[in-house]
């Protein structure tokens, strides 16, 4: 473990945690623009977090300690996920601890924690939301793993940093299998982050909500942590996408110039990705919940096709 590695690791972790709400704000702002609204500004998530942290927490009478603990588990696991994904540099000290498959496991851990907390109170909404979340989750996870396997087959390693290094260092080569994986990943990203074709993040309608139904009972600092964690999750997913499909510009070795370059490039990529996400959410309509298996099935199909095409074409 080098000193530089530790420095980039800590810097990336703090930066990710701090600017993750900004990405959420940017996506919401773009959505407002595309829908001919003025929007609340890209710093709205910070204002919301500040407001929530100031309030007093109200907890249901029959809540167990699990209910109190889950926001911290959620926040912690999302921070871990964000520190594994190479968004700024590949020289990360923590990256040896967990590879791409463990990353999927970390997301699963967070999902299980929030579902348990939702069922803990015993309200109808919590149970319903948890059931739906698990449905979407268990369908999305194999698709995510297929995407990661395709990238791993190309770079012969499941470590995310090695994947980024191989993909960014090679000559410009077209990988048709990565095109399939890219579509599959986009669909998984939309489903896992409760975005529009599967779940509407702005909806509080009992028939449609998934993520919101689970966190209805939370308030104040607990809610703030959960909201923050979900924005870090979105950030982590977008940076995984960048790392797999557009890895150029991520600092490769222990040099300061690369790091100085990596940040503006990352911000530029995030701006483009956030706008793209908002565009997708504006164009698409929310699907019925029973269409979600079909949506995720298609994502899985694309993931498998990516792998098959890799075996056929050798690229």
């Amino acid at each position: 473990m080098s000193a530089f590695g530790l420095f980039t690791q800590l810097m990336q972790l703090f930066l990710t945690v701090l600017i993750a709400p900004l990405l959420m704000g940017w996506v919401n702002q773009c959505r407002s623009w595309l829908q001919n609204r003025k929007g609340a500004g890209i710093d709205q998530p910070y204002r919301k977090l500040g407001k929530l942290f100031k309030k007093d927490a109200v907890i249901a009478k029959n809540a167990s300690p699990l209910f109190r603990g889950v926001p911290y588990v959620l926040f912690g696991s999302m921070c871990l996920a964000a520190s594994i994904v190479p968004s700024l540099a590949t020289d990360l000290s923590f990256s040896k601890a967990a590879d791409a498959i463990a990353l999927a496991g970390i997301f699963a851990l967070a999902r299980i924690a929030i579902s348990l907390a939702a069922m803990d109170i015993g309200t109808a909404f919590g149970g319903m939301g948890a059931r739906r979340e698990m449905l979407v989750g268990f369908l999305a996870e194999p698709a995510l793993l297929m995407v990661l396997f395709t990238a791993s087959l190309i770079s012969q390693s499941t470590s995310l940093t090695v994947i980024v290094e191989t993909l960014a260092h090679r000559h410009v080569e077209i990988y048709p299998s990565m095109a399939f994986a890219g579509i599959a990943f986009l669909m998984v990203l939309l489903a896992e982050n409760a975005r529009i074709p599967v779940d509407n993040p702005a909806s509080h309608l009992e028939l449609t909500m998934i993520h919101e139904a689970m966190i209805l009972e939370y308030s104040a600092r607990h809610l703030a942590l959960i909201e923050w964690a979900s924005s870090i999750k979105l950030f982590a997913y977008v940076t995984i996408g960048i790392a797999l499909f557009a890895p150029w510009g991520i600092a490769q070795s222990a040099d300061w110039a690369g790091m100085a370059f990596a940040l503006p490039i990352l911000i530029l990529k995030l701006l483009v990705a956030g706008f793209g996400l908002a565009l997708i959410e504006t164009v698409l309509a929310k699907q019925r919940i029973f269409r979600a298996p079909e949506f995720m099935g298609t994502a899985f199909l694309f993931g498998v096709l990516g792998m098959l095409v890799h075996f056929l074409l050798g690229a």
Binding site: I183, L301, F302, L312
Partner: protein, 215 residues
């Protein structure tokens, strides 16, 4: 580099085959067929320019005029006149069709492996994809109940065959290609007449009515 580009285009063709398989709306189905034709045209042009096979340019132009302009135009016209813009009815639900599609892709990739070892073309890797495209179009014809989507399946199967011919042996002789193109064109025209007859007789384009015996 050109080889990679051809591989990419072949993958797009496979993607389009799956998109057609999962598409519920007829109008989008025709648009997908159009994009398929356009991809095929680009692919043929790239193969022609890298291998220096002059006759491939002609077949590419034939593809462009027939499959991107004329046939979609006829199909759009037919859809408008028959007023059949509603959702396509599938006999098997779409996720199961997609799973069957994966099985087909695996089978055809395996079948194509020995052929691609024999072929000497730069496109030999894509033979499996071509075969998968043909079989997926066949699957689409089987699982759809409306006559017009079956015709689109038939046309995309012809696209797959054309693609298979270009990737195994750099295309068929010009006479054969012209003949096939004419066949397809005439076939669509005749089937168009059939559509009107079927609808007049049964007041629907659903082919299950044809299974009943006329008294």
């Amino acid at each position: 580099m050109a080889g990679q580009f051809i591989n990419l285009l072949a993958s797009i063709l496979l993607l389009l085959a799956f998109a057609m398989l999962s598409q519920r709306r007829i109008k989008l189905l025709v648009s997908l067929f159009m994009i398929q034709g356009l991809t095929l045209f680009t692919n043929t042009i790239v193969i022609a320019s890298t291998t220096g096979q002059a006759h491939l340019y002609y077949s590419a132009l034939l593809t462009l005029s027939l499959k991107v302009v004329i046939l979609p135009w006829i199909l759009f016209r037919m859809i408008r006149q028959l007023n059949v813009e509603w959702d396509v009815e599938t006999l098997i639900n779409i996720p199961s069709t997609m799973l069957a599609g994966i099985a087909i892709v695996i089978v055809s990739f395996n079948l194509a492996l020995p052929i691609s070892h024999l072929a000497g073309t730069i496109t030999r890797g894509t033979i499996g994809i071509a075969m998968a495209c043909v079989l997926l179009s066949l699957l689409m014809m089987i699982t759809r109940s409306k006559a017009i989507s079956q015709v689109i399946g038939f046309l995309s199967m012809e696209n797959g065959l054309f693609f298979a011919a270009t990737s195994t042996t750099y295309g068929m002789p010009m006479v054969v290609e012209l003949g096939v193109a004419l066949d397809v064109l005439v076939g669509v025209l005749i089937l168009g007449v059939f559509f009107f007859q079927i609808r007049e007789k049964f007041e629907s384009l659903d082919l299950k009515h044809l299974e009943k015996k006329e008294e």
